[in-house]
């Protein structure tokens, strides 16, 4: 049975497990109908022109994991940034792991989507936020909505500053031969509140995984949200990440995406503005090789005056890897004095590597500052010669240059431990030991 059919037929079974009379039933039902009509996206669609899901849809995925699979902390310790003292929401094969997690309701809610969706005390919040900014039309998002049940639920009340970053990690054990998971996260950050969140998807063995994740983030007035996505998964893992961000007046939201691993990765990142003087930041570093494929599809929808957006994506492609950058800036007629900036720099290390870069600016206001720059090149030969002249061998010189190339984005990581972690991953990825921590 094809995956689409399998999903549609499992929907009934899925709904039976949960309360069919809840209001969510209607949301889910119309979502699955949308998916049923549209199916998985194909390359015929403009938005998916450069990324084909065909090959990965052929696996016989388990849509619901059959067992609860436990993992030892020691096995996965290295994937945590902080071992103690922080809030963590951890999932194993799509199911919440209370053993690995550290949730809280003390002052802030860092807990489970399933409880938020099912417990009456969250009903008002769910009614107000759940599926309110996520697309009701984009087929993969609606597929996720239809099955939305588990994920992280984070609600930071007014004026609360969360000291340490919250970690959300989805592990897959590979106990199932092939597994499809559909995490659903909801993040609500109150007025003047501040939170940092790190999200990661990690498989623990080579069995194929397909993750179709949806995250909705609501930043209230003057809220500050720094969201980091670490994508350094095994090459058997495929990830479709759909993130929707709703920003109110004077809020500041940044999303950093670090794509180093995985087979096919697609990042759909959407920012929507509802208020003035909003600041949005979208940054990414992609370093891949082999036949890896990473597609960044961004949208910043400037709908209100006096807002800023900053995009900066750096990509280094080796071997036969493929990168896609499709960055859309939409400035509505009312959004005067918009300041939108987009930069996308790409380095191709091999003749077989491909980059498809497509900046799109649609501007309907007449008093705006919008700029974009896109470069595609090889490593600077003069710089290589300079470093080799100082005695640094080719491989190390290359690594230093690639590091220098991504530096602008690395520098903007606000969590020192994470910055260190990312530079370490980069050094590992480049296969060098430079005698100092990059």
């Amino acid at each position: 049975m094809e995956l689409k059919e399998k999903l549609i037929s499992s929907f009934m079974a899925f709904e039976e497990q949960i309360d069919v009379h809840s209001e969510l039933h209607d949301v889910r039902t119309s979502a699955i109908k949308n998916f049923e009509n549209k199916g998985f996206p194909t390359k015929k669609e403009e938005a998916w022109k450069y990324t084909s899901l065909n090959a990965i849809l052929k696996n016989d995925y388990s849509v619901f994991p059959k067992h609860e699979n436990a993992i030892e902390f020691a096995e996965v310790k290295k994937y945590f940034l902080h071992e103690i003292d922080t809030h963590k929401v951890i999932f194993v094969d799509g199911k919440f792991s209370s053993f690995l997690s550290a949730t809280t309701h003390d002052g802030v809610d860092v807990c489970l989507m399933s409880s938020a969706l099912n417990k009456p005390k969250y009903k008002m919040i769910i009614d107000e936020y759940f599926n309110k900014i996520a697309s009701k039309d984009e087929t993969l998002t609606t597929l996720n909505t239809a099955f939305a049940n588990e994920g992280a639920y984070i609600n930071i009340p007014k004026s609360k500053v969360v000291e340490k970053p919250i970690e959300i990690i989805y592990f897959s054990t590979g106990v199932e031969n092939a597994l499809m998971v559909q995490p659903r996260n909801l993040v609500i950050v109150g007025e003047n509140a501040h939170v940092q969140i790190i999200e990661r998807h990690q498989s623990l063995n080579e069995n194929p995984v397909l993750t179709n994740s949806v995250t909705e983030i609501f930043a209230q007035k003057r809220a500050i949200v720094d969201y980091y996505k670490i994508q350094n998964d095994l090459q058997s893992a495929n990830l479709i990440d759909n993130t929707y961000i709703s920003q109110k007046q004077e809020s500041n939201v940044s999303v950093h995406t670090f794509s180093f691993g995985g087979n096919i990765t697609r990042n759909n990142l959407n920012f929507y503005h509802f208020g003035e003087r909003i600041d949005s930041t979208l940054k990414g570093i992609t370093i891949i090789g082999d036949k890896q494929h990473v597609d960044h599809y961004t949208l910043v929808n400037h709908a209100t005056p006096n807002c800023e957006s900053h995009q900066n994506y750096k990509t280094i492609l080796g071997d036969s890897s493929t990168g896609v950058f499709n960055g859309k800036i939409f400035v509505e007629k009312e959004a005067q004095k918009t300041d939108a900036f987009q930069q996308n720099n790409n380095i191709l290390l091999s003749d077989k590597a491909t980059i498809n870069a497509k900046p799109q600016l649609e501007i309907f206001a007449d008093d705006v500052k919008c700029s974009h720059g896109c470069t595609i090149g090889q490593l600077d030969e003069n710089a290589m010669f300079y470093m080799q002249q100082r005695g640094i061998p080719k491989k190390e010189a290359k690594a230093l240059l690639m590091y220098a190339f991504s530096n602008e984005v690395i520098e903007s990581i606000k969590i020192p431990e994470l910055k260190q972690r990312i530079t370490k991953i980069i050094a590992m990825k480049l296969g060098v030991n430079l005698g100092f921590d990059l």
Partner: protein
Amino acid sequence: MLEINNLHASVEDKGILKGINLKVNAGEVHAIMGPNGAGKSTLASIIAGNENYEVSEGEILLEGEDISELAPEERAHKGVFLSFQYPVEIPGVSVTNFMKTAINESRKANGKEEMPANEMLKLIREKSELLEIDRKFLSRSLNEGFSGGEKKRNEIFQMAMLEPKLAILDETDSGLDIDALRIVANGVNKLKSQDNAVVVITHYQRLLDYIVPDFVHVLMDGKIVKSGTKELAYELEEKGYDWIKAEMV
């Protein structure tokens, strides 16, 4: 130290060096002067191993060993240093870290242990004082946002750190004000010994007041057309290059 015999080189089939002969002994300072486009920087680049140039004929010997087939880093490990006319910016890598990497790669290639951290710090302190470089400067990204003069001073700082056998200074004086020129020249002079050699490439006599050459060569149209002592540099400053051209005819 350095012996170049009948060196011919080209870039994209365009002949740039057309039979260079040059012999530099340990303890000597040689200056190479000449008009724009004569091939001075090309010569410097080729000695250092720049792979953009095709060496079609001739040999480059360093202490009797032909280095013309070696990679740039291998030449560096044998003691060749080139101070660049246009040093490259490397964001995110501090001057200190860059030097640590360079020194330890060189030591590794020469079968030595990495330099202990305290020794490295001492060396950095000593050499930065020699070039009158502020400590804060050393933690900045290599050459990023440096002024022209800072870049050149940083080149000579690196030379001081690496202690090369053969140092080639490619237009190190360009972009330097008189104070910076004095500091840079002073640095070079202090590093000079009976065991190493310096080749200075310059347009102007000015630098040679500070770094006094034992020999001056005039490079024109890919060949060394005249050699002499430091007086030749004064003559060139005064009369330009046309009289040499006339002499050649």
